[in-house]
Amino acid sequence: MIDPGKLSHLQGALVWLPCTIVLYAGSSALHRRLDKAPIANPTLLSIAALVLILAGCGIPYETYFESVAVLHYLLGTAVVALAVPLYRNANRLQGRCISMALALVAGSLASIFVGLVVATLGHASASTVLSIAPKSATAAVSMEISRLIGGTPAVTATLTIMTGIIGAVGGPYVLNALRIHAPEARGFAMGVASHGIATARAFTESEVAGSFAGLGMVLNAIVTALIVPPTVRLLGLA
């Protein structure tokens, strides 16, 4: 039996790096066994398990993050690598540019406005409402926008990840219900609404869906940065 009190003295990559990778590998295997059911999202399952373990053992998040920082660094490398599938599938944009541009702007606006309205109606604090506004953009962008408009960047970072998971888990069900099967449309909509985590999900559907999700993520980072600051000022929120 492992004594949690002793576990808290264990620090560093020696413990948390293998823990994280094994948990993810296990979640991934389960995900495949369940026919890639969106609800069994491996990122979600791994985070849930780690939250329980860290909270249960009283390990501060900073200690955990330090030991898995190399994975966080590789996230940047993987985002750079998205250029390869994007390059390979760029020809599929032909004839779809206008509808994708419209989908981008409509999806981005919907995410921002519905988020602001529901959070306000739910009596969230002003700072929380502002922290929610940019959450569909990828984390580095959403945090910067949050800082600019008076939100809390660290809170926005967490809300951004939650948004990614919600889109990766719920998005496929919404698209299935609408009978949208074209991988270009599925990927793009998920990338716009839920950035990289939904992009990861889209890649498990197909490379085409993943590439369009990556494209949606990049474009929405730009659109969100352009739309959110003037919108919150117009609404008198900042």
Binding site: A78, G95, I112, V118
Partner: protein, 116 residues
């Protein structure tokens, strides 16, 4: 394989340097991705090794979000006060965005405009 990984990391570094020296609020990694995309067009496509290393990384994208995502463990207090409002706002806004974006993006298929 190592050389290709190094190449990706160099683009990541260049992306970071570009955005921080221009002072624009844009992720360095996304900038690096756009630069690599430009490089691929100049070169006429990725080498087989680069494509191989790239897809290994992209296939495990979900793992690489776990360190950042686990930060939620530190926000118990926030969710105790604003939890229901946050959850409702995130779920509704995200799913409505997927719904609207997906419906519009899929419309191209029926317009016939995409036939090359």
């Amino acid at each position: 394989m190592l050389a290709q990984l190094g190449l990706l990391m160099m683009f990541q570094l260049i992306g970071e340097v570009v955005v921080s020296s221009l002072g624009i609020p844009f992720p360095g990694s996304l900038c690096g991705m756009l630069l690599l995309l430009g490089y691929l067009y100049l070169r006429g496509g990725p080498s087989e090794e680069l494509a191989g290393v790239g897809s290994k990384l992209v296939d495990n994208l979900g793992l690489l979000f776990v360190p950042a995502g686990t930060a939620i463990v530190a926000y118990g207090a926030l969710f105790a006060t604003d939890g229901p409002a946050i959850f409702a706002a995130l779920v509704l806004s995200t799913l409505v965005a997927v719904l609207i974006g997906g419906a519009i993006a899929a419309a191209a298929k029926h317009s016939g405009a995409d036939v090359p």
